[in-house]
Structure formats: structure tokens, C-alpha cells
């Protein structure tokens, strides 16, 4: 059974009777999915089209944040791989190096993640990136996971969550349980970068409208100018982006802005170079430091410093984090 977004829909036999699975199938109008033993039977194949797999997570449900991820000052920083892969096709995304193809896998046992979280919450305040390996907001109509996370965060004082997104939907925020610990983080790129390298994703202006809707509903909004991509006219386009932000949002209501130039683990970059031999981003001769490829210091400092100054100039006193913070 196919769907506009997916060629085929597969369901692991052990996840077949889950409430979440049945809800997703209903929303997709799928009466006859293909039943499989293990999600990896489909997910690990290299192919062009995109399938959807509904499965149980057989591994870890919470991972400690990687050194190149921003923790925003949170000591106990985790991410949850509740959904693997994304509906958007961004050329620079680490998911291209992480997963073999475009298939998306939704782990329907979200409640198990919440149970694991409870143990941690008893010990210390926990900060979770819930939309780390995907864009949860973009598939909210299918999963309802954002609503589930927001409800969880509202009811659990020791839990904060970040939902990173490029989604332009403005209609969902007023329907979600509001909490100042449920942070919607909008990734922004200059128009030129979005057009060339963020296939399938809404444009930056539409994302800013969505950010404004999230602010109006009472959610803290974070802006992520990350990754910054080194291109010929980078100063012009990133300078323009800072002005566009200031002209589109109430900057006093922005929780913070994170900036970071492109960086990626060595293995993911190797995979990306194989997959994309003509990619300006993948084929850049990065410097490898501690297992992570990044721009040479001169470029890094110049780009991140420029962006910081441009944001200070246009957005005033908003808090700015860089990925080394």
C-alpha cells in the first residue's frame, strides 16, 4: 500500500497491534501494510525511493549528546532516535551519512522512551532533543509525537525537550500543550542555501512565519543557523539572513540563537562523499579534528564570528550560542 510520501508501508509483526501503529496506519489510510520480522530487513537496503516502516526500537532509546552537538548549557543532554530519517532531503545533513537510503522508520513504542526518561528525571533535570534524527513537526499529522512530547514535558517538571524543525506549518502550535520547557528550534539558512541544498524543505521565510506562530502560542523559540555553509557569497547571504530574522520576528521573544559552521563525523563524511561525488559540501577538503571533519580554523572563526556580529547588530541582546559553548 503506498502513500503520497511513501512507496510502501511496512510494519514489524511485533509492533502490529500497538495503539500508535494502528493510529498511524489509520491516518495514512493504509489497510494492508506489508508485515515484516525486523525493520532492518527494509531500512538497511540502499535504494532511491522512500518507504515507511513502523517498528519497535530494539536498541537504546536515549543517547547522550555528541561533542559536536550544542547542549545550550544543559548538563544532562540526551537525544532520542524515536524516528529515523527525514522527509526533507538536505544535502549537508548527517543523516545522509548515517543511513543507507531514504526509508523512514518510526518507533511506535514511544511510551518505553518515556519510561526510561522517568528514571533519569528522578536523578536530575533532563534535556532531550526529541527531533534529532528526523523532523518530528513535519510528520506530526502522521505520528502525533510532538503532542505526546509536549504533554509529557508539561507534566514533568524535570524534563525539557527541543524539537528541531524546518517545517512551515503554522496551525499546530495553538493546539499543543504549552510549556516553557518545550522549545521549538527552527533551522534557518539563507535563501540561496535553502534553494540549492535543502530539497523538499519549506523556504526560510515560511519557517520564520511558523516560528512566529509558535511564539504567539507561547512556546519558547530557538533559531539555529547551523550548519553554516561556506560558499562564494557567504558574507552577503548570511548578513541578509540576520536582517530578515530581525524583520520577521519579535526578537525580544527569541529564546536564543545557535550558530555553527558545518561539521560532521569522519565516517558519515566518507559515506556522503561516496553518495554525492559532485557535492560542493561533501567534497570540501575539511580538516579532521578529534574524529570530526570541519572547516579550517580560519574559515570557521571568520564565518561564526561574522554571524555573531551580524545577529548582535540586527537582533540586539538575544543570547547567542555557538557549538563549542
Amino acid at each position: 500500500m503506498s502513500h503520497a510520501l511513501f512507496e510502501n508501508i511496512y510494519v514489524e509483526k511485533r509492533a502490529a497491534s500497538d495503539r500508535v501503529t494502528l493510529g498511524i496506519l489509520k491516518r495514512l489510510g493504509c489497510d494492508e501494510p506489508v508485515y515484516i520480522d525486523h525493520y532492518k530487513d527494509i531500512f538497511d537496503r540502499k535504494k532511491e525511493g522512500r518507504n515507511l516502516i513502523l517498528a519497535h526500537n530494539p536498541g537504546k532509546r536515549l543517547y547522550e549528546g555528541a561533542p559536536v552537538c550544542q547542549s545550550f548549557g544543559n548538563e544532562h543532554f540526551y537525544y532520542s532516535p524515536g524516528v529515523m530519517n527525514c522527509v526533507y532531503d538536505c544535502e549537508y545533513c548527517f543523516l545522509k551519512g548515517m543511513y543507507p537510503g531514504k526509508d523512514m522508520c518510526i518507533f511506535t513504542d514511544l511510551e518505553e522512551t518515556f519510561t526510561e526518561l522517568e528514571d533519569l528525571e528522578r536523578q536530575f533535570p533532563v534535556y532531550v532533543c526529541a527531533s534529532y534524527n528526523t523532523d518530528l513537526t513535519a510528520i506530526e499529522d502522521i505520528t502525533g509525537f510532538i503532542a505526546a512530547w509536549c504533554e509529557r514535558v508539561r507534566d514533568h517538571e524535570n524534563l525539557s525537550a527541543e524539537f528541531r524543525t524546518k517545517c512551515s506549518r503554522t496551525d499546530i502550535y495553538s493546539k499543543l500543550p504549552v510549556s516553557d520547557r518545550a522549545i521549538f528550534a527552527f533551522t534557518l539558512s539563507p535563501d540561496d542555501i535553502a534553494l540549492k541544498y535543502e530539497k523538499g524543505a519549506p523556504g526560510p521565510a515560511a519557517r520564520l512565519k511558523a516560528a512566529s506562530a509558535a511564539q504567539e502560542a507561547g512556546f519558547p523559540v530557538r533559531l539555529c543557523i547551523d550548519p553554516m555553509i561556506y560558499v562564494r557569497n557567504w558574507r552577503d547571504i548570511y548578513g541578509q539572513l540576520a536582517e530578515t530574522i530581525a524583520g520577521s520576528l519579535d526578537t525580544a521573544l527569541i529564546k536564543d540563537i545557535s550558530i555553527g559552521s558545518f561539521r560532521i563525523s569522519d565516517q558519515y563524511l566518507k559515506n556522503m562523499r561516496k553518495k554525492m561525488p559532485d557535492s560542493l559540501i561533501a567534497q570540501y577538503p575539511y580538516i579532521c579534528e578529534d574524529g570530526y571533519y570541519q572547516y579550517p580554523e580560519k574559515v570557521r572563526i571568520c564565518m561564526e564570528g561574522f554571524m555573531k556580529e551580524a545577529l548582535k547588530k540586527s537582533c540586539g541582546n538575544v543570547s547567542i550560542f555557538d557549538w563549542r559553548s
Binding site: Y230, V231, N233, R273, Q283, Y284, P285, P296, V299
Partner: protein, 77 residues
């Protein structure tokens, strides 16, 4: 390992330096990127010849030349 579309400049530069295996790989990646980014490697080479950096016959000189080529390409914008 990626593929260089225009191998000529890589071959010429390789012949003008003493490169170890890893340095050769580095140069190859620089050439691949320069090709995609539209950076003129030939004019960079000519500039280094004028400065007396190229050609070089020893490892140290080649390291210095490779570093200059890298700076010119990776920090071109």
C-alpha cells in the same frame, strides 16, 4: 575516494611535488573540490611558481606548497 573530473592539474601538481600517500590524497581532494567550486587551480599553480614555491623536490618544500594550495582553495571565499 572521490573522482577528479579534470585530472590534468592533479597530475601536473603531483609531478611538481614530493608527496607521501596521504599528501597525495589531500591534493586529490583539494582538486576535486576546486573543480566543483569553480576555483581556477592553474592560476594558483602559476602564482606559486612565480613565488618560487613550486616546483619542489623535497618533502618539507612540498608540505609548504601543499599548505599554500590548500589555503588558496579551502579559504578562497
Amino acid at each position: 575516494m572521490g573522482e577528479i573530473k579534470n585530472t590534468e592539474i592533479f597530475d601536473i601538481l603531483s609531478s611538481e611535488m614530493e608527496l607521501s600517500f596521504s599528501m597525495k590524497n589531500r591534493l586529490r581532494q583539494i582538486c576535486i573540490y576546486a573543480d566543483i567550486a569553480g576555483i581556477d587551480m592553474e592560476s594558483i599553480r602559476k602564482e606559486l611558481i612565480d613565488k618560487g614555491v613550486l616546483p619542489c623536490t623535497d618533502k618539507n618544500g612540498s608540505k609548504k606548497a601543499l599548505a599554500e594550495i590548500y589555503d588558496n582553495v579551502a579559504c578562497a571565499f
